[in-house]
């Protein structure tokens, strides 16, 4: 039982993912084909990219609700760059990415300098950035991009779609950031206990701002891909997208309270959402029912996670005893 438990807690999400894959492949012949698997990856690319940024922010104990709006704003700005400003593809992309960075910077400053709770600061940004989208476009779609721009969202390198390549690169960056840099270490420290981190010399404010900026950047990357895929700049895209991103991150085992969770879990969280939507569509589950099922999955995944956490606490309770009583026995004797 306990060994099952430890396996379940470490590989819980991977296990559920595996079961889903097995289930869908027995139910539908179309599921386990190269074509369909490529599809799934393409479908989750934007989600996966935005999830990297969200992971960083949630690890600090914050949250970024402005992801969807940032995505749309990035797209609108880049679209205007290619049409209205006519500055070419690359400069327009850079302009779009800078927009995302700027949004992140404002979020970060609001959270640190103005001490607005992240939920509120980014909620305000969600609303305001969306408004800017409508102002810039007058509410109308923008099209007529230079040919070649569509490659980002629709192109292929061999059998791999370009967005998937971008996602893999972004996730690799996220993984390295979290597991092998000072920044990653500090992020866990800040999320675990801001005061203790500060007293250990961690410049908390600076790293919080950096996290929101990076999150803005990742949202912007996703925004560029979306723009290219649609090949029109629309002010009303990606509404509610932040909720999908948060779902993926939380499914991945990142604690909403901050400071806990591994990046590999997020990769599984993203894939889980992709496999689930794709599989249900293949099985002709109606859209409305899909929503209910997705909600239920989030519900139970987190409930399972909490259960595991509690069990771990209990078994850690045992460890406490073990180490403490040993410490008491092994304590070197003063004066000997």
């Amino acid at each position: 039982m306990s060994s099952f438990r430890s396996v379940a807690s470490r590989f819980g999400m991977a296990l559920i993912l595996l079961l889903l894959v097995v289930y869908f492949s027995t139910m539908s012949e179309a599921f386990l084909t190269q074509q369909n698997l490529t599809n799934i990856l393409r479908q989750v690319a934007m989600l996966g990219i935005a999830a990297v940024g969200m992971t960083l922010v949630i690890l600090t104990g914050g949250i970024d609700l402005s992801v969807g709006s940032t995505l749309a704003l990035t797209g609108v700005v880049a679209a205007l760059g290619m049409t209205y400003l006519d500055i070419g593809i690359i400069p327009s992309i850079v302009l779009g990415l800078l927009t995302g960075v700027a949004v992140g910077l404002v979020n970060g400053l609001a959270v640190t300098a103005l001490r607005i709770p992240p939920l509120i600061a980014t909620l305000a940004m969600l609303t305001a950035a969306r408004g800017v989208c409508f102002i810039l476009t007058g509410g109308l779609p923008i099209f007529g991009f230079p040919s070649g721009f569509a490659v980002i969202g629709r192109g292929m390198v061999g059998i791999v779609p370009v967005p998937v390549i971008i996602m893999v690169v972004m996730m690799a960056i996220g993984w390295i950031l979290l597991n092998h840099t000072k920044y990653g270490r500090y992020l866990y420290a800040i999320g675990g206990n801001q005061e203790a981190a500060r007293l250990s010399g961690v410049p908390v404010g600076r790293y919080l701002i950096i996290s929101y900026v990076i999150a803005g950047f990742f949202s912007a990357v996703a925004g560029i891909i979306l723009l290219s895929r649609l090949n029109t700049g629309q002010p009303n895209t990606a509404t509610g997208f932040e909720m999908d991103v948060i779902t993926a991150v939380v499914l991945g085992g990142i604690s909403i309270a901050g400071g806990e969770g591994r990046f590999t879990g997020v990769i599984f969280g993203v894939l889980l959402i992709g496999v689930l939507s794709n599989g249900m569509t293949l099985l002709n589950v109606q859209e409305y029912y899909q929503l209910v099922i997705k909600g239920a999955v989030l519900f139970f995944a987190v409930a399972l996670d909490q259960y595991n956490l509690r069990m771990n606490e209990v078994s850690r309770g045992r460890v406490v005893h073990e180490t403490e009583s040993k410490a008491a026995v092994l304590k070197p004797m003063p004066g000997e």
């Binding site: 000072k182 206990n193 981190a197 850690r316 180490t323 410490a327 008491a328 026995v329």
Partner: protein
Amino acid sequence: MTKPILEMRGISKSYPGVAALTAVDLVVERGEVHGLMGENGAGKSTLIKVLAGAIKPDVGTIAYDGESFPYLDPRHALKLGIGVIYQEFNLVGYLSIAENIALGQEETFGPFLKSRQMVAKTGELLRSLGIDLDPRMPVRELTVAYQQMVEIAKAVSRNVKLLVMDEPTAPLSGREADTLFALIARLKAKGISIIYISHRLEEIFALTDRITVIRDGRFVMTTPTRLTDRKSLVSAMVGRALNETYPDGKHATRRKVLEVCNLSSDDVDDISFHLFEGEILGIGGLVGAGRTELVRAIFGADQVRSGAIAIDGVGCAIASPLDAIRQGIGLIPEDRKQQGLLLNMSVKENVTLASMNRFLRFRLVHETRERSVVSKYIEQLRIKTPKMEQRVKVLSGGNQQKVVLAKWLETNAKILIFDEPTRGIDVGAKHEIYELMRELTRQGISILMISSDMPELLGMADRILVMSRGRIVGELATPATQDQVMELAAS
């Protein structure tokens, strides 16, 4: 002779691989204050949890008020009149004292609360316990000491017959503790039996009628308090004779490493002093005298209003902990769990947190170098941990303190500030910390040490500054006496 109120016999509880309790007996007579003692991890909390019904014992019986049970569940324990005052209180800050005390058993008239009656009843209860508080006051406005009294009053209102107090004086100042002792005397007069858990020997001797000692989950002895003394009690707890002396050796030179001139902040006023190389400079005073606030200001954790700090004779501006660390200062805070450590992070990550820059290669963390440094500290400071990836949360207090110390040693700190260096650390491990402090001063590190533990302050410090109401009111050369310190502190 009347039967005891509580007779726990042969209580055993084991988890896979570990025996937390082995045949422990605890017998509490009616109306007595019974001290329960043991080192951290000895099994005190497990035993209390069995009594409160939070844990089901494997073997053993609990006889309470004439009835015998194989185990209790939390509801049942409450109904029997067993109350526990934990170190974290179960109070709702935004509710008033009366509402907190009535919580869960409000008297109502239809859907409406009988508020006036509730307030009157609470007022009566508080008066009977000698607690001078307005029942309508919100709990969040009370000091910790008063909150604790409300918690006790709440237990009394539920007809508690046996009250367990887990280290009740840990968060209290000396005077507050005296008030608590008076309250305990009143509870005793009401016929309530009390199990009193504490590390502080003075309290145990002042308060208790009998003492039970457990060690490594086993029953050691139960003895009337008047038939034992400090020495035998400590050796019963530790399992060997322990010298309560402090390691010798003064290593102070005449070189000033830290000079503080006319420092003022919101909490301290016009502070000036200096610290010599290799010295242990003690700071004594009552809780609330501004000692912690002073060292936090020096460390850049709190804002300074005016004044100057010089290190090695050179003036420097310290606006944040990061600045202080760069100047070679380290702070080992009083609240180790909330401020000193990242509980959910590993031993390794905690040790290297303040000196990450040393472990970077091409901007990435160099794991091999990190591991070798951390294992060096684990060995040198004798940190007991199964592996360096262990979360520090599960280490004992003494080992956690060593992890904090290792963190600062790795920053090459030349000045270490210890705020209550042995708070919450058990007797055996205390001595190790003292030895380490001496060894550090021998190596030329200078130490600023706040301590409320009078023997510790007198035994370890080379010189003692005494603070009162945010100011330094005197300096004592050691050997000094407890009376000298108290006289200044109370001024």
